[in-house]
Amino acid sequence: MAEETKQQDKNNPESPSRRKFIKNSGIVVGGFALGGVLGSLLPRGGKDETTEPPPEDKKESKPAEGFTYALMYFTPEQFKIVEAATERIFPADDNGPGAKDLGVAFFIDHQLNGDWGFNAREYMHAPFYKGESVQGYQGRLKRREIFDIGLRELQNHCMSKYEKGFAELSAEEQDDILRDFDEDKVDLTTISPSGFFKLLRIATLEGAYSDPLYSGNRNMEGWKMRNYPGSQMAYTNVIDKEFTEIAPQSLKDHLG
């Protein structure tokens, strides 16, 4: 397996990603004979930018459409509830957009259809016993199942308390419903209300602040709000300086 990878690298030692990587890194390599690892990242024979092959036919390219803003797990109704609930957890304010405009609900939808939603890399073998809280999650349900149940129960709780669905409630009423879950004031047998709320809360932060690659943090607005520069190759020039604002970059910027 390792051999295969090596072979591919050999076939394509001048891949654009390598050049871009070095270009973005901000490292001064001149004057220092780099052995070892960094040396191996550089194109062989000391080639530089000028040897870059001419760009292929320049066709007018339109900005990419947001094809990932569709659903792979939620029903439209579930999606609406998640969009409304995450917006209360992380609302739009003077700092910038809230969860809805950051695409957090799309992020959660996509995540639920992957390893995280299936608890694929976690120990899910029987027997299941109720443990102490310090022993961590001991349920048999996967996150996607917890979301299904949690969203249904959220809706039920809204209907019995306000006779309306979550998305139709006022912001104050929505907060009240979420608080009931957060503080375990809802009587559920299948899942822990506060456990579901915690899951929703952390997923909201993940959606607001992960690389836009995952369909949240739209246009890096989550990062911009808190002056987080995203994925930069080097901070050598600012590390010992006073606070510095830097325009953010995403992982996309590291691909040639």
Partner: protein, 571 residues
């Protein structure tokens, strides 16, 4: 029937820091070594897309797949141990380089006090100072004997640092100068000096400048990109086994690494190991690899598990305190800290390096008088600037709700204005803290999981409170407008990240009655079996353990070479 391969001189189980050091030292001396690694191959080029907090830090890209194997845990013997189904308290490594790839690089030497902890505690305070059930013991080696090995590891890794004003004697200075300092670190330094404490730059495996080590391996300097712990280094600037010791071993032509090879048993005949049995996880095939010498370098849990499953060494019995395999499991008391919120200042907290920090030892080991304190030992205190990645760092002053308008506003307001000063408390062993095999839960092969029985004790609660007070004092001097600090340690909770500093289980010492290995980490009960790692620590100090693991690995390598020539017990 397992396929049987031709015999080799040495087989190593797990190729991380310990395995890599053993491989490089032994192959340099001409021994033929096979390294069996259960995970995949790793290289620097894997990390082009490494600045991805979700994938690496939150979804644990580089960690052991818990669906295949985990540990089980209980706070005490009265309750049922349950599996650690999801990550929390510590993160298990996997793949070439092991946890050595995704560490921060904070590289300390344990104190002279640590190696002779029982003798020195009794000498200064009397035997009554050691509470009932606390099973501290001397390590069977002194700091002076360890010093050359610390020096060797620091030079291999290229540790960047400056002299610790309270540190023990060194034969040489650090091979590279300290990392750059930052306004936040300077603030800590000035405050600590005003309080007449002794701050110094945290010894770092993230190189401060380009460096060529004694093996001829050249590496570039750290770029302060802020993605160290939980990530691999795309520059090779952070010392890890893949960019230091493993290529040296490979270059000799005498080191064969087999990845995807999960060792299941150590094979034995009489009181000697004869090789190992492993599964090629890509085919499911069982393979026997005979060897003259077997070296376990597979982290605390797998070292203990393999010995217990293979019936080698006397299992520990917590009722009697007799037996050794699984004994003295210890951890780290991490929660004694203080966070300060600054109204008028912002710092470049998005930037940093895993081991960029300022630290002090005034409250570590026995550097201060414990006569009127209800605990022994202590911990290092540090401020670090490792990079405040936005998903996992949302500090808000106490009283702020954890969601909604106010949470969002405060978490953004303080994103670059909250600093923490943290105590890294030592962890003392107790008779009822240990590792054994779980009676219920199994791994992917149907073998039992390792079971942890561990909780915090009065020693830990007192220590954490003490550290939190000292940290708050420094933070106050730093001028924070609002300070939050630990009030009560509470029980050990496996769900919140503390540190991947698990220790003990195959401890070193002077007698087979009280220890599993001698001071060359050679098994008392199987002379051609060496067990290396923090599993050898009889207790854990108030520091990150890797520096001491590296030093012990060099010590063991020397022993293995001697054993390969002369045989017999080395100590």
């Amino acid at each position: 029937m397992a396929k049987k391969l031709p015999k080799v001189d040495v087989v190593i189980v797990g190729v991380g820091w310990a395995g890599g050091i053993i491989a490089s030292e032994l192959t340099k001396k001409g021994l033929n070594v096979v390294g069996l690694e259960r995970g995949k191959e790793r290289k620097t080029e894997d990390y082009f897309m490494v600045h991805d907090e979700l994938r690496y830090a939150v979804r644990y890209e580089m960690m052991q797949d818990l669906s295949k194997e985990t540990i089980s845990f209980r706070g005490n013997e009265k309750i049922r141990a349950l599996p650690m189904r999801q990550y929390g308290s510590f993160l298990l490594g996997d793949g070439l380089g092991g946890a050595g790839v995704h560490w921060n690089g904070q590289t300390y030497r344990f104190l002279p006090y640590d190696f002779e902890i029982r003798s020195k505690t009794i000498e200064r305070y009397g035997e009554k100072k050691i509470p009932e059930g606390m099973t501290i013991q001397d390590w069977g080696i002194t700091y002076d004997e360890m010093e050359p090995y610390f020096d060797k590891f620091e030079k291999t890794a290229g540790i960047s640092g400056e002299e610790n004003p309270l540190g023990p004697k060194r034969s040489d200075k650090y091979p590279t100068p300290p990392m750059k300092s930052t306004p936040a670190l300077n603030k800590f330094k000035e405050a600590a000096e005003k309080l007449e404490l002794h701050p110094y730059s945290l010894p770092s495996a993230n190189l401060s400048e380009p460096y060529t080590n004694p093996d001829g391996v050249a590496r570039a300097a750290c770029q302060y990109c802020a993605y160290c712990e939980r990530f691999g280094c795309e520059y090779g600037a952070k010392a890890d086994p893949v960019v230091t010791v493993i290529p040296v071993a490979k270059q000799t032509g005498k080191f064969e690494i087999r990845t995807h090879s999960n060792v299941r048993r150590i094979l034995k005949s009489g009181n000697k190991a004869t090789g190992v049995l492993y599964t090629d996880v890509t085919t499911g095939e069982e393979i026997e690899q005979p060897a003259d010498i077997v070296v376990l370098t597979s982290y605390v849990f797998s070292n203990v598990k393999l010995l217990l499953l293979s019936g080698i060494g006397t299992p520990y019995d917590s009722k009697t305190g007799k037996g050794v395999i699984g004994k003295n499991y210890a951890y780290q008391v991490m929660k004694g800290n203080a966070t300060g919120f600054f109204e008028k200042e912002q710092f470049n907290l998005f930037a940093g390096a895993g081991a960029l920090g300022m630290t002090l030892d005034d409250y570590n080991g026995d550097n201060f008088d414990h006569s009127d304190l209800n605990f022994i030992h202590g911990g290092s205190i540090a401020i670090t600037q490792t990079g405040q990645r936005p998903i996992q760092n949302n500090k808000v002053p106490s009283g702020t709700p954890l969601w909604g308008k106010e949470f969002k506003a405060n978490s953004i307001k303080y994103a670059n204005s909250a600093l923490s000063v943290s105590g890294q408390g030592s962890s003392m062993p107790f008779q009822h803290h240990y590792l054994d095999l779980d009676p219920t839960y199994k791994d992917e092969f149907g073998d039992p999981l390792v079971r942890i029985t561990f909780d915090f004790e009065e020693q830990d609660r007192q220590l954490a409170k003490f550290m939190a007070e000292k940290c708050s004092g420094i933070m106050k001097e730093m001028g924070a407008d609002h300070i939050d600090s630990l009030k009560e340690l509470g029980p050990y909770d496996i769900t919140t990240y503390q540190s991947t500093h698990n220790t003990g289980g195959v401890i070193m010492g002077t007698s087979p009655d009280t220890s599993a290995v001698n001071n060359y980490l050679q098994m008392w009960e199987a002379e051609n079996l060496f067990v290396i790692g923090a599993s050898a620590f009889p207790h854990n100090s108030g520091y990150n353990p890797t520096g001491t693991v590296g030093a012990l690995a060099y010590r063991a390598a020397e022993g293995i070479i001697k054993y390969s020539e002369e045989g017999g017990m080395l100590a």
